[in-house]
């Protein structure tokens, strides 16, 4: 397994290099001058001053040299500094990543539990009214934009019913408590989870239907096992293997979705940092985030494959 993981990482190296080139080119396409953005509009624009600052930032060098410097720094763990605050980008990401992970983790938990349960029920009761209802729910789930869903959730549960706060991670001015934090987490996590729930439900249903008539399921029933044991130990154990891949693919989607959800709920994670950086044209932060998101995908793919081979002994990567 260790050699497999190592080999996968080595194979990804050219892809990672390609990614850095794409990210660097993107950052250079960004309109707006970083130097002009830093100088307040009141200050008279001194050409000399602008030149000087450009020189300090290395913006007057040829592009390939800028890329080389940037890549060199990157390898030393230096992702550059925010044009806005001067903060190191790496530290900005590290400081905000726990909030994003909390949101993603909680959403994943909700969507996997709900999706697998509903999908299994739907398959066991195939062609019943409940099955049709859940299928319809599944379709709606994948068709509703997550930001619209967030607005509805805020409208109903935060503004009308006043059960949950509209935004933020904790109540401002109060000492941190987990209860308060979870109270804030609930709505954004739900908004992020519902779309995934629908996806997991559809795949679980299809996957359960595929094994439900297999011989070993009939054997288990013939042995007189209760329906619950048959479902949990025989059907699900096999049906969930392909679902692992689907969950793995959706880690990426969850990560991308957190960008919009964090912005709407003012959840102080890296997604909100990214959108702020986009509106301020803070390209080191944008580059840092895009690069980071690509790493998240690579790691998620690797994790998926590893889990898959662990869950299905028929598949072994040599």
């Amino acid at each position: 397994m260790a050699t497999y993981i190592l080999r996968r990482i080595l194979i990804s190296l050219p892809i990672i290099l390609g990614i850095t080139v794409i990210v660097f080119m993107l950052a250079n396409m960004m309109p707006g001058d970083a130097v002009l953005a830093m100088i307040s509009s009141d200050t008279p624009l001194e050409a000399e001053l602008i030149k000087l600052r450009q020189g300090q930032l290395g913006l007057d060098l040829p592009l390939y040299e800028q890329y080389g410097r940037w890549l060199g720094n990157l390898l030393r763990g230096n992702m550059g500094y925010s044009f806005q605050t001067g903060e190191p980008v790496f530290e900005m990401i590290m400081r905000r990543i726990p909030a994003t992970l909390e949101l993603m983790g909680f959403s994943l938990l909700i969507s996997v539990i709900l999706g697998v349960t509903l999908g299994t029920i739907s398959a066991l009761k195939q062609y019943s009214a409940l099955d049709y209802g859940l299928t319809l729910f599944g379709f709606t789930g994948i068709s509703i934009p997550d930001f619209f869903l967030s607005l509805i959730l805020i409208f109903v549960f935060a503004l009308k019913l006043d059960w949950f706060p509209t935004s933020g991670m904790v109540t401002a001015g109060e000492p941190f408590s987990w209860a308060d934090n979870l109270h804030h987490l609930f709505l954004p996590a739900l908004a992020l989870a519902l779309v995934r729930t629908a996806v997991f439900m559809r795949y679980t249903r299809a996957s359960v239907l595929e094994v439900i008539n297999d011989d070993y399921v009939r054997t288990a029933r013939a042995k007189g096992m209760t329906e619950f044991v048959v479902t949990a130990r025989h059907i699900l154990r096999n049906a969930l293997i392909p679902v692992i891949t689907v969950i793995g693919i959706n880690l990426t989607v969850l990560f991308a979705g957190s960008v919009i959800i964090e912005t709407i709920f003012q959840w102080p994670g890296i997604g909100m940092m990214f959108i702020n950086a986009i509106s301020l044209r803070d390209s080191p932060v944008i580059m840092g985030y895009v690069l980071f998101s690509a790493f998240v995908v690579l790691i998620a793919n690797l994790l998926t494959d590893v889990t898959y081979s662990w869950a299905d002994p028929r598949i072994r990567y040599e």
């Binding site: 892809i15 993107l26 379709f139 985030y289 998240v296």
Partner: protein, 296 residues
């Protein structure tokens, strides 16, 4: 010696063609029919918008700001006195065309790259697939937001960005199909009698990939509409005063409007959901009709 062939009478009724069967399966699919009717209706009211409403989607009417739904304004008016229903109808034109145009772009790129990789195989395939992998390594929304910000927000850039960044999955699909198809007997037979590569690709392999491509196009349009809505919601897509379903929802970012004036943001949001839902239903029907083997 001449042998007289025994007289065989053929059944006079023609056997049903594959396409005929598929069409029947599709039209029996209730959800797909619902989707088709709803989508046609949406397209009709968007196209016929100028005939259906007396108001302009962009002109301000400062005497009628933030009015709740009434007989004159069925869905009320927005912060600058524009009729919400009118804007929703006109926005349909923008949102649906962004969906169609961007999917056309991504299909074109995806099919070309996928078929070259799948047909050529070997080194060409390797290189093209590594490039595809590279593009797939970015979460699509993240890279789309970044490029849209870099190119500057506009309708055309939204179409372009979504089209240019959603082709990798199509390329993979087409390549996979080509890889299986090119080893099949009928392709080998064609090659053995000297049919050119060009002709094999277009006359023999490509027609067999059309079913999967049709399904992918349908889901692609749904996805593109959602992406455009997200972009415009973030202010990186269609720009005011041109209405799109996504940018109309921007108003709801103010808690005042969100809480007190739901007529401004509920209709465009529901339209996105309805349009995407209809297209997903159609896609599901197409998949059942064209590719009965697939489970999902």
């Amino acid at each position: 010696m001449t042998a007289t062939a025994p007289a065989i009478t053929f059944a006079t009724t023609k056997p049903e063609s594959l396409w005929g069967k598929a069409r029947k399966r599709f039209f029996r699919h209730k959800l797909a029919m619902f989707g088709l009717v709803t989508l046609s209706l949406l397209i009709f009211v968007s196209v016929a918008a100028p005939l259906l409403t007396p108001y302009s989607p962009v002109e301000l009417d400062l005497r009628a700001i933030r009015q709740p739904p009434s007989a004159a304004h069925w869905l009320g008016t927005d912060g600058t006195g524009r009729d919400v229903l009118t804007r929703v109808l006109y926005a349909g034109r923008i949102s649906l065309s962004v969906g169609l145009v961007s999917v056309s772009i991504s299909m074109l790129i995806g099919i070309i790259i996928g078929s070259i990789a799948g047909y050529a195989g070997g080194k060409v395939d390797m290189i093209l697939m590594r490039v595809t992998d590279m593009f797939m390594t970015f979460p699509s929304l993240v890279i789309i937001i970044t490029v849209a910000a870099a190119m500057g927000p506009s309708v055309y850039n939204a179409m372009l960005v979504i089209g240019l960044l959603t082709w990798p999955s199509i390329a993979r699909l087409v390549r996979g199909q080509f890889l299986t198809l090119r080893e099949q007997q009928f392709v080998r037979a064609a090659r053995s009698i000297g049919v050119s590569s060009w002709e094999i690709t277009f006359k023999h392999i490509f027609p067999n990939t059309i079913s999967s491509i049709a399904v992918a196009i349908t889901f692609g349009v749904a996805n593109a509409i959602l992406l455009e809505a997200s972009l415009s919601f973030l202010g990186l897509g269609v720009q005011a005063p041109t209405p799109s379903w996504g940018n109309m929802l921007r108003d709801a970012q103010s808690l005042n409007i969100l809480e007190g004036m739901p007529w401004m943001w509920l209709p465009p949001g529901l339209m996105i959901a309805l349009a995407v839902l209809s297209i997903n239903f159609i896609g599901d029907g197409l998949r059942d009709a064209l590719d009965p083997r697939s489970m999902l």
